[in-house]
Amino acid sequence: MVRAGESGWATAWEIVVRERTLRLVLRSLGLTAAVTAACLVIGIGLAWLTTRTDLPVRRTFGVVAALPLAVPSYVAAYAWISTFPNLAGFWGTLLVLVACTYPYVYLPVVAALRRADPSLEEVSRSLGRSSLTTFLRVTIPQIRPAAAAGGLLVALYALSDFGAPSLLRYDVFTRVIHDSYRSSFDRTPAAVLSLLLVVLTIAITVGEARSRGRAGQARVGSGVARTAAPVGLGRWKPAAALACVGVVGVSLAFPAGTLLYWLSVGSSARLDLGRLTDAATATVVVAVLGAVVTTALAIPVGILAARHSGRSARVLEQATYAGHALPGVVVALALVFLGVRYLQPIYQEVPLLVLGYAVLFLPAAVGAVRASVAQSPRRLEEVSRSLGLGSWATLRRVTVPLAGPGIATGAALVLLTAMKELPATLLLRPTGMDTLATRLWTETGSGAYAAAAPYAAALVLLAIVPAILLTRVQTRVVSRTTAAEAPAPAVAPITVAVLGPTRPTGSTGPDSPEGGAQR
């Protein structure tokens, strides 16, 4: 930001008004729209199939379908482009981005479907509506906020990803930023151009909030949350099963298979186990530290944002998304500027890197915490105060525990994205330290795909942990709501849709799409 304010306006303005820039902005928006639409269809479809039908092995499948979250989009892009060079261009980019991001829609929709009271659908059917009409008129409105929240994350990811589009040779706006800063070795125009990305992001965020608008779902009483009777798929069963297998095959099995293939062939395969372990350890250390620090910062901000509604809170919330849209390399250079002048003792040390992660990923964590606080009844806090607890004690014993699922969600999201982060890590890491992502960058940079494979595989395996944690946060909802009579005032929707809120007032935390192999 400081940079942007300095002197680059003229240069940047020149770039902005260039015809190519406008064309690329439109292209980026087109790609974003296509990816989001496809993710909504696939995510909602899979969620419905795995929660509401008699699909074979749907429990196992329900977990597996969330795992593509663990595959960095640049790894998937490498896998596809190296096997099918003809895939380059729009369709390849669409395929890879959809395969890597549909879980952002799938997970919150699964949660929403599990929480939704099936009796509404039964009433609809008993009143003579067909299954299809019931789905469209009753089910869809119930899951709309969750789907919109997930769709927002997908859109932000698609808009700001650099790695996958550049590997698949589909020119988008992030490339303009990349080029402008590479060509002049100057950070200023790049910083100004990033502001354009921020503007686009805010527009999308506002659009998403509008789309949820007043579609309130408030209802009196918590209803009876119980497991819905599965819909018989009948003769569609094989087709549905095939579609599910297809999605998992494309998004998970294919990249995994390609990694295995690379591992088994190629003379550049020289596995240095010590290096791999070091890189994996470093990755876990910085990602866990990043997750802890970011979540710790997110708790107070999230609670404030949720409990003090009003214009300024809303502006603050949308501003956090703006921060999220800045490419990692721009944030990293800003921190270099700051670190080398004012934070010299920790410059190029782990603490500054962790701070970098906090700046990049705070919005994701704040969104999750905020949403879960917003969903827990304020009345509980008032009861606590009226029974004589102070505000700190109330915060500690009521508000924070209630926000638990949101906090867990935020932490898992930050963990997941920090593991995959590349550009900021490259510039801010201690000299000599390698993470899995930086090793991957080194190996692929010299064309050594086989040597890169172990690092990519380790990254995917490690990232499965937070991905499963996210899934668990979702599934726990069910057991809790089914045992709804347990904790006295039915704290009904404790769930936070994975990435965010499922009520119109809520909002979500974006995943940061940093990393692209040269993302």
Binding site: I81, V284, Q344, V350, L426, R480
Partner: protein, 346 residues
Amino acid sequence: MRRSRLALPAAVLTVTATLAACGSGAGDPAAGEDTDGTLVIYSGRNENLVGPVLDQLEDAVGIPVRVRYAGTSELAAQLLEEGEATDADLFFGQDAGALGALGNAGMLTPLDQEVLDLVDEDYRDSEGRWVATSGRARVLAYDPEQVPEIDSITGIDQLLEPQWEGKIGFAPSNASFHAFVTALRVDRGEDGAREWLEAFAAQDPQAYENNIAVLDAVDAGQVALGLINHYYWYQRAAEVGEENVDARIHFLDNDDPGALINVAGAGVIAGTDQPDAAARAIAFLLSDEIQQYFADETAEYPVVEGVESAVFDLPPLSELQGNRIDLNDLESLDRTLALLDEVGLT
């Protein structure tokens, strides 16, 4: 109930993080120390290529060496951002443009004449602020089946003939391609360069992500010709065996912009606290031993006279002596990119 379920993962996470923090502090002695008595190198060259060289550097300079790897342009930007506060003593970059930019920003200090004299004047900064450590030539990769008479192609103008329409592969976002276009601008002027680029764009050339992908495409026969750097072919031949590579490479005439020789090079950061060690490090990179390494391992051109590759059959650099331009001109990348924008080659 709810609390205990959440408390456990939270506690585990916190303990792990704390342990990890302690571990990283204790286990990595280099992390906490300040850089006094250490030579800090910012390397924009890939660790797989130059790591073995820099590992030997410690013995040569006599003090501990720490290397920071990242992209050449990212590190140049980082150095510009750090300014005088930087810890770096030496910059090792993979193209002359970044070295030129650092030199012009006053970030590099002049080198000893003795060291500079090891290298031909063409491959060093005229003010002595940086020196090349190895060179690379732009070449044509070709598919012998589709291009039986490759020797008839001597310059880039022949690529504009109708028979090559849709049959040329290139990497428009690649720094080496940009360097070639800059050389074209320097050689033929802005209008001459635009004319060639417009005609080239009208040939429907096939764009690829990088040089490796271009070589793959030529090797698979998807395109007949590809604009790449010479060493990609040599390295491929070394990795899978020359008989398993269908593509071949062809050098254009020396005076053609398509035969540009670009360099990787190094410079000493102004304000270094280790001037002697940094000077020794540069001399080491130009020693016969290391020049031989570049020639034999990475198939690059040695820049010091008298060193020839024992592994690769490289035509000697003195015979190519490429397209003579001031390599500092490669810094004018912003104008090159603007021109490429204009003609739609991005």
